[in-house]
Structures are given as C-alpha cells and as structure tokens.
C-alpha cells in the first residue's frame, strides 16, 4: 500500500477495482465499457488503450468483437483502423450529414497520385515516386500529405544516401475506410501484374543495394507484414 501515492483520492473506485482484481466484470459489461469509450472518442483507440482504462482482468479485444457484431447494419458501425478501433457513421447515410461536412481542400492531381504511389509502394522514397510519375515531386506535395496526416516518414532506406521513405498512416486508413493497408483496392492484382515491382530500367545492373533489398532494410517483411497474403 505504501506504493500507492494517493489512495484516498478515489476510495470508491479504488476499492471497486480491488474487489474486481480477481474477478473481471461480465463480458456484457465489458462490451458496454468499450462501447462508451469508442463513442466518446473521435480518434480510433487501440484495445490496449481501452484495456488500460478498464477494470483489471477485462479483455477489450473480445469485447470489441462483440460490439462490432452488435453494430453491424446499424447507423453507426464499429470499424477497424489498422491496429485500432473506431465508431463511424455508415457510409450510406452520408447524405444526412451534409451539414457536418467541412470544406475539404481540393487536392492536386500530383498530391493524389503521390499518395496512391506511397500507399501501394510503401515504404517508398521520393526518388521512387518521381520514377513512377516521371516528374519531380515538389516539396509542397509531400508537406501537404504529411500535414493531412495521411503519410509520415518511414525508416531510412539502406541505399546510398540513406534516403527517407514515406509510409501511410492510420489516419489515412481511417479517412479512406481501410482496415489495413492490405485492403487497398486491387493490391493483389497490381502485384501479380508486376506493377509494384521495383523494376530497374534495362541496362542497369541492380547491385545488392540498388533497390533497398539489403538485409538491414528489406522492404519485403514490412510489406509482408502489412499487405501479406
């Protein structure tokens, strides 16, 4: 008890929590808790974050699955966003929400294409984006996408110059309604068609570090991880 600095601040909760130390609340109750937390938050929450706030012994992951089922087909749905969960209105009811729509900035073609290239090729360097688009990428385009919190810096590539890479964020997944980057439309087809390969121009002998395939920065595991089968 001496390690507890302020037990007298919340005596009730404290004792509630303690009494439940060895007996987690029923699952239905846990579901209610997850429901309350997801409703209250505009941002997606991880099961870890939720579990931290729940009484001892709760299983937020299981409760989320129950809740998700409960909200299937309802006006709001429990959606997965990467490793996190959120409640979002059903897409077919968007017309009701016209008043909530805030003026969204019109994105330039360069920004949209750059975003798509990063999403499908991540982790992706600026040089790779430029190679695919055939033009240089302006600083402002990348800045805008970072500002929108749709992309962020990934690890540096272990190629000469150690270029930074870009990857998409959970905010990107949330915005475009994707559970994981694997759910990007047509990803499998593109990969099968070889269109996601880093194919060097003929005549260029790909060195061991030429396309970042070296051991210390092998993009494959990342992609496997994110886009895996």
């Amino acid at each position: 008890m001496s390690s507890d600095p302020a037990p007298e601040e919340r005596p009730n909760e404290r004792s509630e929590q303690e009494s439940s130390l060895f007996q987690a609340p029923p699952l239905a109750e846990q579901e209610r808790m997850v429901e309350a937390m997801l409703f209250a938050s505009a941002e997606p929450l991880s099961t870890g974050e939720m579990q931290d706030r729940m009484p001892h012994g709760c299983d937020a992951a299981e409760a989320v699955q129950l809740l998700r089922k409960r909200y299937q087909g309802r006006g709001v749905n429990v959606v997965r966003v990467g490793d996190t969960w959120a409640i979002r209105t059903a897409a077919d009811l968007g017309f009701l929400m016209s008043r909530e729509t805030s003026e969204t900035r019109k994105l330039s073609r360069a920004a949209i294409e750059t975003l798509a290239i990063i999403a499908y090729h991540q982790p992706c360097t600026r040089a790779e984006i430029e190679e695919i688009r055939g033009v240089s990428v302006s600083r402002g385009t990348i800045d805008l996408l970072i500002e929108l919190e749709w992309i962020r810096f990934g690890r540096r590539k272990m190629t000469p110059g150690r270029p930074v890479t870009y990857v998409v964020t959970p905010g990107f997944l949330d915005h475009f309604g994707l559970e994981t980057p694997r759910d990007l439309p047509g990803l499998k087809e593109l990969r099968e068609a070889g269109l996601l390969d880093n194919r060097p121009p003929p005549g260029m002998i790909p060195g061991p570090e030429d396309d970042g395939e070296d051991d210390s920065f092998d993009p494959a595991p990342d992609q496997e991880d994110m886009f895996g089968p």
Binding site: P5, R88, T89, E100, A110, G134, F176, L195, G203
Partner: protein, 267 residues
C-alpha cells in the same frame, strides 16, 4: 517516319477546329505533368491495351509533338527534350537490325520498359481515383461530433530512498566541512594583523621603540602565541622599513630590535 504517321499528322492539321485543338494540346504543355504524362496521353490515341502498345508509333507521335511545338516556338522544358532525344535513340534501335557486337539492352527491352512505366503510371492513376472515390471520413462517414473529453489524471509518484536522503544530508554536511579552508588560527598572529596594529601606532616621527612593545597584550604569556606574535611583528617591521615608513636598529646580536618611524621629509 512512316507513312501512317505522316498521314496522321496531315490529318491532324486538316481542319481549323482540329488545328486549334492540337494547338491547345501543345500550348497547354504545362498541363502535362512531364513527358511520361504526355506519352500516356498520346498512347490513348492508339486505343489499345497498354501492354500491346506500339512504342515505335508512340515515339513517333511524341517526336512529332515536339517538332510541332518547336515550329510554334513553344518553350519546352528540358526534360521534354531529353525524352525526345531518348525516344529518337529508341526509334533507331527499334528500326535498325540489332548489332550483335553491341552491348547493352536491345531496342525491344527499352521499349518494354517504357511500356511498363506507362502501364504502371496508368495503374497508379486509376488507384488514386479509386481511393478518392471511397467512402471518405468527413464526407461519407463521420466521426463522433461531440467527443468527450478524456481527462488525464496524472498521478506523479515521487520517489526517494533512504539512501537518497542520507546522501543529500551527507552532501550538505560535507559541504560545510569544506568551506574555503581556514587553518585553526587560535594561536597564530598574522603579519597582516601586526601590520595593521603597528601602522595605527607609529604615526610619523618619534623615538626608537622596542618592536616587542607592539605585541598585543593577550599574546605575551602563552609561549606559542608569543612566538607567533613576535615573528609576525618582526616581519611587519621589515615590511614597514621596506615601505620606507620606519627604520630598524639592533645594537648587538640578540639585543632588542628597535624601530623608529621615519620622518615625512626623510622619504
């Protein structure tokens, strides 16, 4: 230049309307996002699967475009011209029989890569459009309008061990012990003290005085103190002589040392 390409070019300039349209295409060169974008646009006139595109025909179209742009004195960015030079090279590679002694990629390989680049760019454009057409947050799907404030109750636990406490106290006490070092001076009479005392006593002019008389009262009995005071007074006397304020004399070895303040005009 093949006949078909020439005829097509002629056709392009047949009517005023078409000519205007073509000019618009050229003048609007800024609207293209680089040579690859232009090539992709041109490839659409072939109306075939990008994988079955005739790169040779495409190269000719591009070169014709650049040529037209030049005759219209339109400034083309350097990369358009670089592409033109490369396509001219590619065209020669595709048209001439392969040189068995020459190294490097064949025309077909180069053409295949260009076709691949176009296909990849086209694919990315389609995906970008599909992405933007998804049910987007803030347009089709919405988050909670009144999110509830999660107040963060931060409990800070301060830690300090008994060891920390002891160390802190030890640090304080040790610092006390190591204040600027001062010797135990109970029985030490310094030259500075002697000087101060003597300066106040001698004034200017006067008779010879035994320097022992300058030793303060409390310093005469205890031998330790007397020794210290005698030495200090002697040293102070020498200082006064050095400063020209006094003269010393001693009649004999171990005789009392006498001091007489110097007169002002003696200096």
């Amino acid at each position: 230049m093949s006949d078909t390409a020439d005829r097509q070019d002629d056709d392009m300039w047949e009517t005023v309307a078409e000519r205007r349209a073509a000019e618009a295409l050229i003048v609007d060169v800024d609207g293209f996002e680089g040579p690859l974008d232009l090539l992709l646009t041109l490839s659409r006139t072939q109306k075939v699967d990008l994988r079955k595109i005739s790169v040779l025909k495409l190269a000719e179209q591009y070169l014709a475009f650049v040529e037209k742009a030049r005759t219209l004195r339109i400034e083309l960015a350097a990369d358009y011209l670089v592409m033109a030079a490369w396509l001219a090279f590619l065209k020669s590679r595709l048209l001439l029989p392969p040189d068995p002694f020459e190294d490097g990629p064949t025309g077909e390989e180069l053409a295949a890569h260009l076709a691949y680049q176009l296909e990849r760019l086209q694919a990315m454009r389609e995906k970008a459009a599909q992405l933007m057409a998804r049910d987007r947050l803030g347009r089709d799907r919405f988050q909670r309008g009144i999110p509830e404030q999660i107040d963060t109750a931060r409990t800070v636990t301060y830690t300090a061990s008994l060891f920390d406490l002891m160390q802190a106290y030890a640090r304080l006490r040790t610092r006390d012990d190591f204040r600027p070092f001062v010797l135990d001076r109970d029985s030490i009479y310094t030259m500075e003290e002697a000087l101060d005392r003597m300066r106040g006593m001698i004034g200017y002019g006067g008779d010879w005085v035994d320097i022992a008389s300058f030793i303060p009262d409390g310093w005469r009995r205890d031998p330790k103190k007397r020794r210290s005071a005698t030495a200090a007074t002697f040293a102070a006397s020498l200082e006064l002589v050095k400063a020209g304020r006094a003269t010393l004399r001693q009649s004999d070895t171990f005789a009392p040392i006498q001091l007489r303040p110097r007169l002002r005009d003696e200096q």
